[in-house]
Amino acid sequence: MTTTEDRVESPKGEIGSARRRKEDQRLITGRTKWTDNIQLPGMLHLAMVRSPFAHARISGIDTAAAKGATGVVAVLTGADVKDIQGGLPNAWTIGPDQKTPNHPSIAVDRVAFAGEVVAVVVARSAAAARDATELVDVDYEELPAAVELKAAAADEALAHPDLGTNISGVWTFDSAEAGTGGSADEAIAAARADGIVVEREYRQQRLIPAFMEPRSVVCDPTGEQMTVWSSTQVPHFLRVFIAACMGIPESKVRVIAPDVGGGFGGKLQVVPEEFIAVLAARHTGRPCKYTETRSESLVSGHHGRDQWQRLTLAATKDGTVTALKVDLLADMGAYLGLVTPFVPMLGALMYNAIYKFPAYHFSCTNVLTNKTWTDAYRGAGRPEATYAIERLMDELAVEVGADPLEIREKNWIRADEFPFATVAGVTYDSGNYEAATARAKDLFDYDGLRREQAERRERKDPVQLGIGISTFTEMCGLAPSRWMGEQHYAAGGWEHATIRMLPTGKVEVITGTSPHGQGHETSWSQIVADRLGVPFEDVEVLHGDTAIATRGLDTYGSRSLVVGGQALVMAADRVIEKAKPVAAHMLEASADDIEFAAGAFTVRGTDSRKTLAEVVWETFTSHDLPDGVEPTLDAGATFDPVDFSFPHGTHLCAAEVDTETGQVALRSYVSVDDIGVIINPLIVAGQIHGGIAQGVAQALWEEAVYDEQGTLVTGSFVDYTLPTAADLISFTNDNTVSPSTTNDLGAKGVGEAGCIASTPAVVNAIVDALRPLGVNDVRMPCTPERVWEAIRSAGASAGGGASGGPLPHFDEGAANQDMPEAEQKGADR
């Protein structure tokens, strides 16, 4: 295939250049390796029988008819595999007292959510397997189900009766106890007497990651090593947990993540279907494949968010913040997945955000329910934190009577105050909130839009204009291993890279990260090209196969560049260090006098030079190496980060709200993100676009809705409404740069930024538009019905969060804690 010039002008080399992606050629021509594409000789296909009930005892399963169907090789039930299936892993607990339900891959005698697998049909074709699932006869005795989160927290029905409670655990942080700040309670009491107290309760609705490629797994048990291909973000995790949970020697397992079609945290999981494919392959001795339908994906792939947030912000009368208190109720769903219980805590360090709170208290109660389990979804804990604080800062501005940007600036960390130790106990290495905000205001025409808003309010335009602000920060780069150990995580947070110098001068880069759309093959090539002075085209990036990328901790939490990229830089530097004695020998000079730049070694103060390719060839032949020099330049490095990185930015959203219909239309959206040094601006813009779209979708459209029985009502793309091209607008994006000091690249991470920032920007815009009508909250997603209802009932919800007095919002029947009728009846929507 011919392509036009792929290189865009860059003054300083590859880093910073808008390289077109290497990955694209196969993806735009259909030469793809999705897991479901795999066909192996003798391959069998799996189809799942899933529970239609949220909570039920399995009193009997009759598989005789299914086993007799044409093409069916086997039918497996929980009873068949209960002694060998092990349990699915929960790698991140919130402490030793956590209550953790057992999680079999095939339910044995009880199901805990609608969609749980109760039997598996193994057949010659996918169609035959699916047909035979209809013949499996399961007898269920329904049990009371814990569905709605607050009812579940009160133990009205038990999700797992053997645990005796639905409370899985409680996690707290207090700045006074930690020595990172004062007492939040004291500061709030002081503000009640003489200051401002803003109290709100917000709902983080349940979302579904909805990656475009449905999950798929193939297990080939033939050969000495069992090979598992899976549409996963975490092939290394999968290998470890197949070994640890199923009792199979790790050395007998090879896991490959081929082309993976998106993840967004949804494929940061070890799932029942992966273990089931292993069980079926070992049972039949033949390769087995399972590919989920979209409907199965929505009901059984993990969900995200789903929290109630009770929030108290205290400030002085002039709007200087004095304390923040956060009390969360988090819905775990029926089981604790890989990192389920800790997801809310990933936000715990971020509620204080960019503001100088002198006191902070955080508490989260994890609750088990009979719904699909939750786990990481793009941002994982930080979008919830950012939403809460950015909504509250707007409320504080209203209380003070100040512009919401002014109130933020009054409280944020100034550029000259970095590095800054926060009240949550972490240190922000770099940032410049003034610069990002100034640029965003400029691009947005903030003052012009405020004037238009005033004019439309003045003439009582039925379509009101709202301006939403989100001056967010987040934390990237999971994570210092020592910190993860302190947080009861089962693994570390390092990352590995190896560079192989091939005899002909080409370079193979092996990374332990596992991209699934992020373009690592391109940006990793750019880094290596700059570091080693080799052509971009000569670098090949390999990943996602545990037999090739033997060490790695995979891709999530915006960690790949800041952790894996740094490992790559270190490996490249080691290649050069290993090459120096060889070059010195070739140049008949002392190694101390050898300098390396732009792909060549020179002797200081002379014209003598050898290219890296020449040194590589010399090392390959090894005919004349100095004594004691190892005949290879290949080098690896494993990097354990010393700290997180903290991207930030200012997002501004203008929304038009039709006060007669409740319809919200995005008018303009500006983002200015400081993600540190940018490797590839094209890829960065793409990440920001997609992230903003997902955050906007939480604000306006998406919600996983369950009925009173615990059935997922939004179980297909007809009802779980992802945004289409026609729903969105083109965003305006720019960047400011304050390099991170936690890695040599100066990078901060960008994968989740847009998604974290945009949700509060949109909802703040809607509330801002409706504030003169007495509206101070609209529950997400802000559908026309909810917006219209908020306007209609505005009188009741106006004026909330005033200073002093009792806690009106936590009193029964008060605004902001009203549940819609459906929920009061037990539904969770």
Binding site: M1, T2, T3, T4, R20, R21, E23, D24, Q25, L27, I28, T29, G30, R31, T32, W34, D36, N37, Q39, A210, F211, M212, E213, P214, D259, V260, G261, G262, F264, T293, R294, S295, H516, G517, Q518, G519, L682, I683, A685, G686, Q687, H689, G690, G691, I692, A693, Q694, S716, F717, V718, L722, T724, A725, A726, L728, S730, F731, T732, N733, D734
Partner: protein, 160 residues
């Protein structure tokens, strides 16, 4: 079983298929045309979009037997003589794909949008792509790619 004769990406095939076989499953499983993918089971996502006699269809929404006697073009048949189709090239240049799973369907639909309306506005492009879901890109660069092929100057349009 029914016998069908169909021309796919310039090659003629004659096959026995179950009457219930969807075109997308025929393409993927019988012809090995795995460039075309399945993303949902309710014909919402458009990942499986191909051209049937030159017009875009969701191949999960067409039975294989309905393609009997017709011509199908998939993403794998777009490039000619080693030259990418301009829409493929534009997707690459505009970074209109990330994970790439929706891309085959999106490209096939984008071509059809311009076939129907060679010089669409941004809004018309967005409406033309409404039946194809992408979770990665926010659609912004997809719209730009279509605009690039159309040679359209953006009308109130794509910034950044």
């Amino acid at each position: 079983m029914s016998r069908i004769s169909v021309r796919v990406d310039g090659v003629s095939y004659s096959d026995e298929v179950e009457p219930r076989t969807l075109l997308v499953h025929y393409l993927r499983e019988q012809l090995g045309k795995t460039g075309t993918v399945v993303g949902c089971d309710t014909s919402n996502c458009g990942a499986c979009t191909v051209h049937l006699d030159g017009h875009s269809v969701k191949s999960c929404n067409v039975l294989a037997v309905q393609a009997d006697g017709h011509e199908v073009t998939t993403i794998e048949g777009l490039a000619q003589d080693g030259q990418l189709h301009p829409m493929q090239q534009a997707f690459h240049e505009c970074h209109a794909l990330q994970c790439g799973y929706c891309t085959p369907g999106m490209i096939m639909q984008a071509i059809d949008v311009l076939h129907e309306n060679p010089h669409p506005s941004e809004e018309e492009i967005r409406e033309g792509l409404e039946g194809n879901l992408c979770r990665c890109t926010g659609y912004q660069n997809i719209v730009r790619a279509v605009q690039q092929v159309a040679g359209a100057t953006s009308e109130g349009g794509a910034q950044s």
